[in-house]
Amino acid sequence: MLKFRDYIRVESKAEYEKAIASIEGPVLLLAGGSDLLVQARQDDRYEDHTVVDIFGIEELRTIEDTEGHLVIGACVTHEAIAQSLLVNRYAPILAEAALSVGSVQIRNHSSIGGNLANASPAADTLAPLAVLNAEVVILKDGIESVVPLAEIFEGPYKTNLGDRDLIVSVRVPKLSADVRHDYTKVGRRKALSISRMTIATLLQTDENGVVTRFDMTMGATFPCPMTFPDISAMLVGKRPTKEDISEVARALSAKIPEIAGIRASTRYKQPVCRRLSVRILQELIGDEQHA
C-alpha cells in the first residue's frame, strides 16, 4: 500500500512555487509516476513526504521550437516525444529512444523530466540527450537557470537537485538534417524491457566524406550520462577507414571497464559494445567508408 504524508496537485509554476513554500517536511514531485509509484510500493520510504503532483502543469507539457533549440517541457511524456513532429525532425534520435521506453501505457505516464530526476543509469533517453549536448532548465529558489545535462547527476539514482527544485524543461540543440543517427537498445525482450545497454550515435560528414561531427556514447553502462570528446576526435576531420572504425569501437568499449570498473557484466558489455559499434559505424558511414 502506498504511503504518503499528503498529496497536492498544482496546475501552474506559480501554484507550484506557492505550494512548496508552505509544505513542511520533504517534498516528492510526481511527474507521471512510472518510477515513483513503483518505488513507493517497496516500503514506507515516502511515509513523511508530501507529494506535489506537477504532471498537470500545462507550461511543462509543451515542446517549443526556438531559434537553435527544442525546449521540451519536463512533463512531456515519452509517447508525446516519440510522436512529436518537431522532435522527429530536429532530434530524431531522441524520438527513437523515447519510443523504446516500456510500453505505450508506461510511455503515456512517464515524462522526460521524471526520467532525469529518477537518474536511473538505464534510462533510455540519457545517452541520446548526452550526444545531443542537451541542457536542463532548473527552477531553484524562484530562479531559473540552465545547466548542462551531465551536471545534475551525481551517481546512479542520485542528482544534486533538492526536493523542491523543479526541472522545468530540457533544451536540445536542433540537429541539421544531414546529421545521421543511430539508437541501438539491447534488452531482453522487445517491450517492457529495462535496457541492458543503449548506444547513441550522431555522425555528420561533408561532401567529401570527411567527418565534421561525431558523438557516440552508451547508456545503461555508466553511473551518469557520459560524453567522450576523445572518441569524437578519433573520426572528426577524417574520411574513416575500416581501421578507424575498429579503433573507435575498441576505444569506446574500453571506456566500460575504465569508468564503470570491472563487473560481472563487463565480460558481456565490453565485447558487445565493440561489435555493435563497428556495426553502427559501418551502417552510418556506408559507402563513404574508405579502404
Binding site: 517492457l192 524491457s193 541492458r196 575500416k242 558481456y268 558487445v272 555493435l276
Partner: protein
C-alpha cells in the same frame, strides 16, 4: 461418427462476462464485515522456529486477531499425496515462503501495518540451496526423507550396456533447466465465509483443485467435509499453480473465519505470490544415447535430478512423468531412466503445465540433434527413422495397438509448414561463414503425452458428474472440474449435449460447487477431457435409461431400442421431441437425474521394474521453431513456431488453437527469458514481479505462429478427445533451443535455461569469437 455439437467451435460460455468485466475474480469479492489478512513470512530459509511473537501486532488499530501454527486445531500438515507441508509453520521453517503468522484486520492497510510487528525467534540451520548440496548434507529438511531424497522413479527396458556396445555413435551430454513461475495474471485470493448457523465454511476464490482443498481443510480445521463448501470464483489463470498454495491460504483464512465468526479475505500481492508459490521443477540431466551408423536408436540412459524445494508436493509424480515420458516417442529397445527428486530449502516445486516433461524433452531433443549430426543426418531424417508407428512398443514397454500413432505424420506437417528441410540445408550452409553475424536456425521436437494421472495413480483416477434434466427439458450439469481459462466448461457442455443427444443451448453448466457436484478429482494432468467426457457419457446413459423407463410406462415395455439424437428421440416408428419425452418422464413421477462415474482402467505397469503401460493413452505433438540469433549481441529472435498436435478429437477447434498459441508463447518464455533470479546461498528469489521476471510480450511472440490439428478420435476416450493443455507447451522450449543451437552451428551448445543475451553471447564467443572479427 456423426456428431452434432462436438467438433464445432461454439463461443465460450464465459466469454461475455469476462470481456465485459462482469466476471467476479477472487479479489473482487466484497462482503459486509469482511476481514483482510496479511501473512508474515519466515526470515530464514531453514531454521527451527522457537517462538512467534504476536502481541504487538494484536495491539494495533483495527487488528482482530493474529494466528500462528499453534492455533491449528487439527493436523498441522497438508499435502495432496505426501503430507509434509505446514500451512502455518509450527516448529520449523523450510523456505523463505513459509508463513509464520497471519494478521486479520478491518482493512488491508491495518493488516499490512500490523504484520510488520510480528517477530519470531529462530535457530538458523544451514541453507540447503541446491539438490547436490542437500544430497550430501548431514541435515535433513524433513526427517522422513533420508538423504533429502523425496522421490525416485525408474523406467527400464532391455539392456542399455549391450545397446551402447552395439552402437556406432554414442553421445553424452548434460542439460539443466530453471525454475519457472506459472505467472497467472491473477495472484492468489481466497475468501472464507463462516456460517452463523453451524461450524460450516464456504470458500470462494482462485483455486484449481477444490476437492483436494476440502480434504486438507477437514483434516486441519476439524470441520466435517459436508460443512466445507468450495465455490471457486472466476480463475485468472492457473497452469497447475493454484493448488497447494491456494489450499494453504484457505486453511489460514478458514482458521481466522472460525475464530472470529467473520468472513476473511486473503489476497497475495505479486511479490508475495512469487515468494510463496511453488514453481516448475528445475532439473539437471545426464544423457547418454547411442545409435548405429544407419541412424537407428539403440540405447538411452538418462539420469535426472530435480529440485523439489521445501516440500514434497508433486515431486514424485513429476519424476514419474520425467521418467516415463522423457525418452520421447521413439522406438527404442534399451532404455534406463532414473528420475530423482530432492528436497532443498528453495521454493517447493510442483504441478505446472507439462509436469516434468518439457525439461526432459529440452535435454532429449538437443542430445538427439547432436547424435544426428554425428551421423550426418538432419533432425527430421533421424526422427523419420526412429519415431513410433502403429503397433510399435513405446520406450516404457507399452504396445501402441489401440489408437493411431500419428507422431510421424505430425512431424511431416510441422516440417512442411516451416519448410524445415530446405531451411535446414540452406542455413547450415550459410552459417559456415564466420563473417555472418546474424544467423538463422530451425529446430523441431516431438512428444507423447500420457493422458491423465498414469499408472502411479493406478485405481485412483476417477471423475464424476451430476446431470439433471429439468421439467422444461433444460439439462443441467454439475461438474467439479474447474474452468481455469482454457475453455473446459464450454467443451464439457458440448460433450453433455452430444451425450444427451440434445441441442447445446439446452445445456447449462452449474458453477463449480463442491456441495452440488460430486467429488471428481482435480482439473490437472491432462485429464479434463478424458475424465470429464467419460463421466458425462456414463451419466447420459443413466439419464437416458430413466427417460426410457418413462417411455416404456407410456408406450409399453417393448418399444425396442431408443435413440437420443439431435434433440429428437427415436424408437419404434416414433420420432418425439426431447421436450415431450422429458414431460412424459416427469408425468410418470420419475426423476431424470443421475451421477455418472468414470475411472481410468488399471494399466499393466510394474513400478519396481519400471516397465509396462505407464498411461492409458497418449496425445502426440510436434513443434518446430525458426529463430534468428545475433552473434554480436547474443539476442534470439523467434521468427515462427508451428504447433502440430493430435489431441484425439478437437471438441472445440478454436479453443484448441487458443491452447496452442498460448503453449508456444509459454515455451518461448521458458527457453529464453523467464528467470526467478534464484540465489542458492540464501534460497531467495530476486525477481519477484514481472518487471524482473520476463515473460515474452506480444511483440516477442511471433504473430506468424501456426497451430495445426490432426484428429484421430481415440477409441479409449468417450468422445474421442484426449488433451491439449499440456502437450501444447511441451516440446516448444526443446524446439527453440535446437534452432538456436543450429544457428550457433553446434547442436547441444546451449544446454542451460534460460539463455537470452549473456549465455548465447558467451556461446557465440566460444564458437566464433576470434578477437578481431573482421568487419566485412
Amino acid at each position: 461418427m456423426k456428431t452434432y455439437t462436438i467438433g464445432k467451435s461454439i463461443g465460450r460460455i464465459d466469454a461475455h462476462a469476462k470481456v465485459t468485466g462482469r466476471a467476479e475474480f477472487g479479489a473482487d469479492i466484497r462482503l459486509p464485515d469482511l476481514l483482510y489478512l496479511k501473512g508474515v513470512y519466515s526470515q530464514y530459509a531453514h531454521a527451527k522456529l522457537l517462538a512467534v511473537h504476536t502481541q504487538q501486532a494484536e495491539n494495533m488499530p483495527g487488528v482482530v486477531c493474529v494466528v500462528t501454527g499453534q492455533d491449528i486445531p487439527g493436523e498441522r500438515m497438508i499435502g495432496e499425496l505426501f503430507i509434509d507441508q505446514y500451512p502455518l509453520a509450527y516448529d520449523k521453517v523450510r523456505y523463505l515462503g513459509d508463513v509464520i503468522a497471519v494478521v486479520a484486520a478491518d482493512t488491508q492497510e491495518q493488516a499490512d501495518a500490523a504484520a510488520k510487528l510480528v517477530t519470531a525467534d529462530y535457530e538458523p540451520l544451514p541453507v540447503l540451496g541446491s539438490p547436490r548440496v542437500a544430497m550430501e548434507s548431514e541435515y535433513l529438511i524433513n526427517e522422513e526423507y533420508p538423504g533429502n531424497i523425496c522421490g525416485e522413479v525408474h523406467m527400464r527396458k532391455g539392456d542399455v550396456e549391450k545397446g551402447f556396445s552395439e552402437s556406432d555413435v554414442v553421445v553424452k551430454t548434460n542439460f539443466r533447466s530453471a525454475y519457472i513461475e506459472h505467472a497467472y495474471l491473477e495472484p492468489e485470493s481466497v475468501t472464507v465465509i463462516p456460517s452463523p448457523m453451524r461450524p460450516e465454511l464456504t470458500i470462494l476464490g482462485s483455486m484449481q483443485a477444490p476437492y483436494n482443498a476440502r480434504i486438507s481443510l477437514h483434516r486441519t480445521l476439524n470441520v466435517p467435509m459436508s460443512q466445507i463448501i468450495l465455490r471457486p470464483s472466476t480463475v485468472g489463470g492457473s497452469f497447475g499453480g493454484k493448488i497447494e498454495t491456494a489450499e494453504a491460504m484457505s486453511i489460514r483464512a478458514g482458521l481466522i473465519a472460525l475464530k472470529t465468526g467473520r468472513p476473511a479475505q486473503y489476497t497475495l500481492t505479486r511479490e508475495e505470490s512469487m515468494r510463496e508459490s511453488y514453481k516448475r521443477h528445475p532439473i539437471e540431466f545426464e544423457m547418454e544415447i547411442g545409435a548405429t551408423k544407419d541412424g537407428t536408436l539403440k540405447s538411452m540412459r538418462i539420469y535426472s535430478i530435480s529440485d523439489g524445494g521445501a516440500y514434497t508436493n508433486m515431486s514424485p509424480p513429476v519424476a514419474y512423468k520425467t521418467a516415463t515420458l522423457g525418452a520421447g516417442p521413439y522406438r527404442l529397445d534399451n532404455v534406463d531412466v532414473t528420475a530423482t527428486a530432492v528436497l532443498t530449502n528453495n521454493n517447493h516445486t510442483g504441478s505446472m503445465r507439462g509436469f516434468g516433461v518439457p525439461q526432459a524433452l529440452f535435454a532429449l531433443e538437443n542430445t538427439l540433434d547432436q547424435l544426428a549430426e554425428k551421423l550426418d543426418m538432419s533432425p527430421t531424417e533421424f526422427k523419420r527413422k526412429n519415431l513410433l508407428k502403429n503397433n510399435d512398443t513405446s520406450p516404457a514397454g507399452h504396445v501402441l495397438d489401440f489408437h493411431e500413432v500419428s507422431v510421424l505424420s505430425l512431424l511431416e506437417k510441422a516440417a512442411a509448414e516451416l519448410d524445415f528441410d530446405r531451411k535446414f540445408t540452406q542455413y547450415k550452409q550459410e552459417n559456415k561463414d564466420p563473417n555472418r553475424r546474424i544467423r538463422r536456425g530451425v529446430g523441431i521436437a516431438v512428444s507423447m503425452r500420457g493422458v491423465s494421472i498414469g499408472a502411479d495413480g493406478n485405481g485412483h483416477d476417477v471423475s464424476r458428474i451430476l446431470i439433471e434434466v429439468m421439467q422444461d427439458a433444460s439439462v443441467h450439469a454439475n461438474l467439479g472440474l474447474v474452468e481455469l481459462g482454457q475453455g473446459l466448461r464450454t467443451c464439457q457442455m458440448q460433450m453433455v449435449a452430444e451425450g444427451m443427444g440434445v441441442n447445446v443451448d439446452r445445456v447449462t453448466m452449474g458453477a463449480t460447487d463442491t456441495s452440488r457436484s460430486p467429488v471428481t478429482g482435480a482439473c490437472i494432468a491432462s485429464r479434463g477431457t478424458l475424465l470429464g467426457g467419460g463421466a458425462t457419457l456414463d451419466a447420459c446413459k443413466r439419464v437416458h435409461a430413466i427417460l426410457v423407463e418413462g417411455l416404456q410406462k407410456t408406450y409399453g415395455e417393448d418399444i425396442g431400442p431408443v435413440v437420443f439424437e439431435n434433440d429428437r428421440v427415436l424408437f419404434d416408428d416414433h420420432d418425439l421431441s426431447f421436450v415431450e419425452v422429458v414431460k412424459n418422464c416427469y408425468g410418470a413421477n420419475l426423476t431424470p437425474m443421475a451421477v455418472g462415474t468414470y475411472s481410468v482402467p488399471i494399466t499393466n505397469w510394474d513400478p519396481k521394474k519400471g516397465f509396462g503401460e505407464p498411461f492409458y493413452t497418449y496425445s502426440y505433438s510436434c513443434q518446430a521453431a525458426e529463430v534468428e540469433v545475433d552473434l554480436d549481441v547474443g539476442s534470439v529472435d523467434v521468427i515462427k513456431m508451428v504447433g502440430c498436435h493430435d489431441m484425439g478429437r478437437a471438441i472445440n477447434p478454436v479453443l484448441v488453437h487458443g491452447q496452442i498459441y498460448g503453449g508456444l508463447a509459454m515455451a518461448q518464455g521458458m527457453a529464453l527469458s523467464e528467470d526467478v533470479g534464484h540465489d542458492s546461498k540464501t534460497g531467495a528469489l530476486k525477481n519477484l514481479n514481472f518487471s524482473g521476471y520476463l515473460l515474452p510480450t506480444v511483440l516477442d511472440v511471433p504473430d506468424t505462429n501456426v497451430p495445426i490439428l490432426e484428429e484421430h478420435p481415440d477409441p479409449r476416450s468417450a468422445f474421442g478427445g484426449r488433451s491439449i493443455g499440456e502437450p501444447s507447451t511441451e516440446p516448444g522450449a526443446a524446439a527453440i533451443t535446437c534452432a538456436v543451437n543450429m544457428a550457433l552451428g553446434k547442436p547441444g551448445m546451449i544446454h542451460e535455461l534460460p539463455y537470452d543475451l549473456d549465455r548465447v553471447f558467451a556461446a557465440a564467443q566460444e564458437l566464433w569469437g576470434e578477437d578481431d572479427v573482421e568487419i566485412s
